[in-house]
Amino acid sequence: MLVTILDIVIAGLLMGGIYALISVGLSLQYGVARVLNISHGEFIMLGAFITWTMFAIFGISPLLALAIVGPITFIIGFILHRTYFNSLRISSPSQPAFEGSSMLASFGLLFIIQNVAILIWGAGIKSYTYLAIPVNILGAVFPANRLITLGFAIAIGVVFYIFLARTRLGKAIRAAAQDPVTAETLGVNINRVLAICFGLGALMAGLGGALISMMISLQPTMGLEYLIIALIVVVIGGLGSILGSFIGGFILGLVGSIVTHIEPGLAMVAYYFIFMLLLLVRPKGIFGR
């Protein structure tokens, strides 16, 4: 009994780490850059496929590939905001108008990135095994790559938190999130900060994807599922609340693990149920202001 509970809890936490990471990325893009990035899942897919390519073709360890995936997805995100979303933001008559049109544009991006990936990698399923050795935690057995994944997810979260709290750029990002107009008058280069935020969001999606690729088989259409999970987590944590997203990720991981234990087919339905219930009862999210 105890082992079963431990089994469920640890499995939930392991999944929750990934959920937290990708949700913080989405939250950052919406909370600061005000783009509800529907193509977020595609950056996860990109991260996963780049890692696969590194490992399967060049023989580079997936953990080393993190250092390659991160900059690539960051640059893509940064350039996207600089060349597209920023000019959309400037030409939009109001903030709700920008939120609507940027969300729609990200739908377009979803289709573009997904189909470019199909052109490059084909529509088939890809997978590899890395560090799938069993590890025993108090009687519950897990593959080592899952534990490494959780470790990395937490480490990235902590590093990012310190970056936001302690550095000058982190301060500028927080200022831009609170009040972009005032931040700009106080000397924050708002265009640059927003682009960096969007890039960081893409980076976290990419890293999340690289970590996910160690555990599951990959497909160019895998992004949507993770986008939906990230959306749910972000709503649980409160749209725009980064700490809320981080904690929300672990909550959803636990819920998923419990429901999967009881009735495997209903995990996704349970996610949605919680999601819709929360939207109705407390749309600001558990940690929203």
Binding site: S87, P96, G108, N115, I228, L239, M276
Partner: protein, 324 residues
């Protein structure tokens, strides 16, 4: 009522043009090859979805991604009652089921602000999809359903009739006081409430009306497809396409969504047949994505906005503007 209203050029030219087009469409199965009829059925399916999407989301600015949920509800309604009742009844019931679903969803969600509403409607489709997948496997023990079918020509006529009714209703709503109320909700919800408009009620009813037509068209398409499963009925693409088509066509005028829907459906038809030769038939979504991204940036009011701009330029008096 003023007689000159009906005799004025402004009304009878578009009216007559509409009548001619309608007669051409109605007699089409007589002289056109069967393929054209099938293709036009798909074109009109998207036109109805897009126009009915615009009825609600156009003036209010609430971006609904629930189209697939209502379309799918119509499909499942037809799958359950099809064959037991005549086709017109099936279509009406399909619409009514979606209408009721939209009333329920609207009552629950239309208090939410814009972004939340969009996420919620997006989630609704996936919730229904996963629930029906689970339901089919675990409760009924099936993976899909066979729908009693109708022939292509019957489906075509059914969809033309629903199309005409959709356009009429959309037009009447747009021209009425009710449509004005919708516009004012889109402009400033709080101000609209202060003017005595029952904001929530107007939103919910309009949402349900737009869902009715999506359900009706779902019921027709189910009868033509003959075999359906949850993945066909609740395909998220059905939610995205009307948005893409309406944005591209422009929502300022009724013909905008019609142009957008017709353009994209025909473009897809063309692309899938040409790209298929190079075995990359599915890549039309790449081109759709590019068109969407580009038109949001450079064509914010859609094709309609572009046409109006040209018209203004053509009809503008050619003189040097003096002062302001």
């Amino acid at each position: 009522m003023n007689i000159s209203l009906f005799t004025s050029k402004k009304y009878w030219i578009p009216g007559l043009a509409g009548l001619v087009v309608l007669i051409l469409l109605a007699t089409l199965p007589v002289y056109a090859p069967g393929y054209t009829v099938v293709m036009l059925t798909t074109v009109f399916m998207y036109i109805i979805l897009t126009v009915s999407w615009t009825i609600f989301s156009g003036p209010t600015g609430y971006l609904s991604l629930a189209s697939a949920a209502f379309f799918g509800a119509g499909i499942y309604a037809a799958a359950m009652i099809g064959g037991k009742l005549p086709l017109p009844m099936v279509i009406i019931i399909g619409g009514a089921v979606s209408f009721m679903l939209a009333l329920l969803v609207g009552a629950l969600t239309l208090r939410l602000k814009y972004t939340y509403f969009t996420i919620f409607t997006f989630g609704l489709v996936e919730l229904l999809l996963y629930f029906m997948l689970w339901w089919e496997v675990n409760i009924t023990g099936t993976t899909g359903r066979v729908v009693p079918s109708v022939d292509n020509t019957t489906a075509y006529y059914a969809i033309i009739i629903v199309f005409v009714i959709t356009i009429l209703i959309a037009y009447l709503i747009k021209r009425s006081k009710y449509g004005l109320a919708l516009q004012s909700i889109g402009a400033d919800e709080e101000a609209a409430a202060h003017r005595g408009i029952n904001v929530t009620m107007v939103k919910i009813i309009t949402f349900a009306i737009s869902a009715f037509f999506m359900g009706a068209v779902g019921a027709i398409m189910a009868s033509r497809w003959t075999y359906i499963d949850p993945n066909v009925a609740f395909n998220p693409l059905i939610s995205f396409m009307p948005v893409l088509m309406a944005i591209f066509g422009g929502m300022g005028q009724l013909y905008g969504p019609v142009i957008g829907a017709a353009f994209f459906t025909l473009l897809r038809e063309f692309l899938t047949s040409t790209l298929a030769k190079y075995e990359i038939g599915e890549l039309y979504m790449l081109i759709f994505g590019i068109v969407l991204v580009v038109s949001i940036k450079y064509l914010p009011t859609g094709v309609v906005g572009l046409i109006q701009k040209w018209r203004k330029r053509l009809s503008a008096p050619k003189q040097v503007p003096v002062g302001k």
